[in-house]
Amino acid sequence: MASNAARCGRVLRSVAPSLLGVSLLGLPMTMHAANNCAWLNEATASGLLGGSAVGEVTEAAGQPTVCEFTQMDASAKRTLRISVEVVTDPHERVGVLEKGCGGNPTPLKAIGNEAASCALSDRKIAVGKQVIGRVRDQVFIITIASTLKNDPVLQGDALDSKIYTAAEQVAGNLF
């Protein structure tokens, strides 16, 4: 979790020159090792997605850092995606992102400096929810989605609760 942030930071510092080279080539660097997401560990993601999830972290210069956890079973593919970027105008950026969010964003109390949730309207998924928020100048987007319509794991209040939990974990580790 947060220790992973420190570890990831150390790794990144040690590989900074290479990272720079990679970014100059315009290629994203993907760290496939499990559990190296700085804001949510794989065990927690697995609990939220209702089964064993596999995580992947993508970092690229100038792009938001992304952790994506995927849980698959016979009926559905469930994903939990966290995207974090550091910006100079975080409040405005959150506002812009919320405008692009499906439905009317609902403000969430006690998540970071500010946060709101909204339903996803992506056609590729059957059910999903998103939280957009920030901790200081770190803007995050958290998405939980499933390809299964009426997914019993990610429905109604349970989905609301799960994305709130994910948001609380992510914001807590961003503080």
Binding site: S3, T44, D157, T165
Partner: protein, 796 residues
């Protein structure tokens, strides 16, 4: 449709109830797996801070037994059923624990060795290895029958001990620290998130699902599962039992959740499992409300960080310390912070319709403000204002060019003229707080004095302690804070406690004591009408700069609470005595508080003079003479001290406080027999008096009475495990008794705990860099805007 938490909780309960009736199913492993699934599903949903008792299942029906009724006798079949349940529960819990350890232990960072998995915290756990988070019955399970307690707990700091930004920001810095990391955070999380610590969550590459416990901090079954207190050393010095909500007829614990009807049939066994007697005692609170920074954390040495427990022990409320200036009824931590109130929600733990508060009202306004817990915030503010905790007394005036103290203000006549330069003496008494003002992390909390002087039109003549537009406090305000510094003399602004090496100053006011704050201002030459002086003690849960560290500068203003205040109108011309305000202290106490404040500011002559005024007002009050005597002892005026103490003992021959000081005087006079007699009498009456134990130990030591001295210093260590005198003397005494191992341990503790002689220089470095507040480090100082040229610093 997805079940709500309450429905799931209810179905878990119903499931368990049915299981009892069908033995073959009820006690099957499958049943446990289903119960565990119910439990896990329920826990995964408890994230929203808006969650309250409305989300709980309705409590099962229950008729409490009549008062004095004996416990229900079980039939042999019922006893067998419980025994089978217990056996299966133990089997399931142990198996789950074993499997859990097999999963988490290999990746765990045993930074302090395999025998110290939770160091630098002091927490321990019953049984072998880590304890799985699923072993703790959930708050919702408890809340089904304890809805009032649940709803209060959900808004209280204990349930939010881990997840708040105010904590996470600090602990994240430690976790991200290059030379430390998450293993070191066990020091903090042992109190803030014990389930995580005991469950091996605090390691790199954690395999633990944090969603199951992070949002509950200290859940019901953390406090109520503690089976023993290790010591009064703090840093979570408890032993956590395997959580159980009921015991069997032999008093043996049955782990995990059980069907509600099992509890409702035997509420006395439920109490036996979850209501240990120590829950009512301050020593239990001490486990976490006492903290030190050990060398295992800071790579430096032991530093006592805070100890509300010892402060309480030294206060009048403990009745353990004979040396307090005032007396009071015995009151525990729980007596103030867990007061019994009428319930508004069903709660089977209520007695006569009342329940001890699980809000733990104190000074925590930031957390309910952040989470929108309006009821908790309101009750917290009411608590801070309602307790008669502080007394603010604009006690005296002193005009420039005159040595005469116009005091007590309001009770004597005086005159005031335009252009007079005036010193106002504001005495602030920590009257009814059982610990210091401010307690605990006083580098983060903020209480300060705001003084205004205004003319009759409301125009400001003088203002100290104002909030600046950026939310920061006037840097020259008198604040009850401390300034922890690093070994570079830098202020530790963000609670990086492992970098603290010293404090530049500590202006907290201990329980029962008073502080004198002096303000100087000039009455304008053209003043019209009277001027009004107002002194307030304000409080903000967290310093503005710390809030800025957490949120950046664009956060809402956090609540500032006025805890106590007093105004006085000063007429230009003649002022006559006036009737006292009902909230004012009586005159003798006003003088007494001034004497105490002056004593603490090393103004001994003035202190004796103030205590002598108390004698004039209460000639039969023994403590007034003792106060004169003790001040003279500190002042090294032993002859006059002896006269005062003798007078006190004449008035009150068995007065332990006077006897203690008499013992010191007898030692000075070489009357060892009387010295011992005095101290022994104090110890007999106050066996937990650390001062009397220490002095009696020293006396015996000086008389080479090794066994007697050892007994006293060991008793002293039982009261205060950090007492340096005890460590030092025991190291010598044990050596004389041919106990080298114990002697070496005491010597090591003495070396580790004694103040680093170089530490004060770190504070001086800080003060040199910050002249705007360096005055605050000097006990006898005055707040003034006036310059040597006669103007004011702000140009007025």
């Amino acid at each position: 449709m997805e079940k709500t938490e309450s429905e799931i909780a209810a179905s878990c309960g119903r499931f368990g109830g049915n299981m009892r009736k069908t033995a073959s199913i009820a006690f099957s492993i499958v049943g446990f797996l289903i119960a565990a699934y119910c439990f896990d599903s329920l826990r995964a949903q408890q994230a929203s801070p808006q969650q309250d008792a409305a989300s709980l299942a309705p409590p099962p029906s229950y008729t409490p037994p009549a008062k004095g009724a004996p416990p229900i006798e079980d039939t042999p079949a019922q006893r067998d059923a419980i025994a089978r349940w217990k056996a299966k529960a133990e089997l399931a819990t142990n198996a789950a624990r074993k499997q859990y350890n097999a999963e988490v232990a290999p990746a765990y960072n045993f930074h302090y060795g395999p025998k110290n998995p939770f160091t630098p915290g002091n927490i321990e756990v019953q049984g072998e290895g880590f304890l799985q988070p699923g072993a703790y019955p959930s708050a919702e399970y408890c809340g089904t029958c304890h809805q009032e307690a649940y709803s209060q707990w959900r808004q209280a700091l204990h349930s939010n001990a881990f997840r708040t930004p105010f904590y996470r920001t600090s602990v994240n810095i430690l976790i991200r620290d290059k030379t430390r990391g998450i293993s070191f955070a066990r020091h903090c999380d042992s109190c803030h998130n014990p389930i995580g610590v005991l469950g091996a969550a605090l390691t790199e590459d954690s395999k633990v699902d944090r969603a199951k416990f992070d949002s509950d901090g200290l859940t019901c079954t953390t406090c109520h599962s503690v089976v023993g207190l290790d010591s009064t050393n703090g840093n979570s010095s408890v032993k956590m039992g395997v959580p159980a909500v009921i015991v069997d007829e032999k008093g043996e614990r049955i782990p995990g959740e059980v069907p509600f009807d099992m509890i409702l049939r035997h509420p006395e066994r439920h109490s036996q499992a979850v209501m240990h007697d120590f829950l009512h005692k301050p020593e239990f609170c001490a486990a976490c409300h006492k903290a030190n920074l050990p060398a295992t954390l800071n790579d430096y040495k032991f530093i006592r960080a805070f100890t509300a427990y010892d402060e309480w022990q030294q206060s009048k409320f403990s009745q353990r310390n004979p040396l307090t200036f005032y007396t009071a009824d015995f009151t525990t931590c729980q007596g103030c912070h867990m007061k019994r109130n009428p319930i508004s929600l069903p709660d089977y733990g209520a007695k006569d319709g009342t329940l001890v508060s699980h809000r733990w009202l104190a000074g925590n306004t930031a957390v309910p403000f952040y989470y929108g817990f309006d009821e908790q915030l309101k009750k917290t503010i009411d608590f801070l204002r309602a307790g008669n905790y502080l007394n603010v007394d604009i006690f005296a005036l002193k005009k420039a060019g005159s040595d005469k103290l116009i005091a007590p203000l309001g009770r004597v006549a005086y005159d005031l003229a335009p252009s007079d330069t005036v010193d106002a003496y504001v005495v602030i008494q920590n009257k009814n707080i059982g610990h210091s003002l401010i307690p605990e992390v006083r580098d983060l909390y903020e209480a300060w004095v705001e003084v205004t002087v205004k003319d009759s039109a409301g125009a400001e003549i003088y203002h100290s302690g104002f909030l600046k537009p950026d939310g920061m406090i006037d840097p020259r305000a008198h604040s009850f804070t401390n300034r922890p510094v690093t070994d570079e003399g830098e202020f530790v602004d963000n609670h990086k406690v492992w970098t603290i090496h010293s404090v530049a100053y500590d202006n907290s006011v201990q329980a029962g004591r008073s502080v004198l704050v002096r303000y100087q201002f000039r009455i304008p030459a053209n003043v019209a009408g009277a001027v009004t002086v107002t002194a307030k003690v304000n409080y903000r849960h967290l310093r503005q700069s710390y809030l800025n560290n957490i949120f950046g500068k664009d956060h809402p203003a956090y609540p500032v609470v006025e805890i106590a205040s007093r105004s006085r109108v000063l007429k230009i011309g003649d002022n006559e005595p006036e009737a006292a305000d009902p909230a004012d202290n009586p005159d003798w106490m006003r003088w007494n508080n001034l004497g105490i404040a002056l004593l603490d500011q090393f103004q001994y002559a003035e202190s004796v003079a103030a205590f002598t005024e108390v004698v004039k007002l209460r000639y039969d009050y023994a403590d007034a003479y003792t106060n004169v005597g003790l001040t003279e002892i500190v002042w090294e005026k032993y002859d006059s001290a002896r006269t005062a103490i003798r007078k006190a003992l004449t008035l009150s021959p068995d007065n332990a406080r006077a006897l203690y000081y008499d013992g010191l005087l007898e030692r000075r006079a070489g009357n060892t027999e009387q010295e011992i007699a005095d101290f022994r009498k104090v110890v007999e009456n106050f066996p937990q008096s650390r001062d009397a134990r220490r002095e009696l130990g020293i006396t015996y030591y000086q008389q080479n009475m090794v066994a007697e001295a050892t007994e006293q210093f060991e008793a002293l260590q039982g009261i205060d495990p950090d007492d340096l005198t005890a460590h030092y003397n025991l190291s010598i005494l044990y050596r004389r008794q041919h106990r080298p191992k114990e002697a070496a341990e005491q010597q090591a503790m003495f070396v580790d705990k004694k103040v680093d002689p170089g530490a004060p220089t770190y504070g001086l470095n800080y003060l040199r860099e910050h002249p705007e507040i360096s005055t605050e480090s000097i006990p006898w100082h005055i707040h003034s805007d006036l310059t040597a040229q006669g103007g004011t610093a702000n140009g007025k």
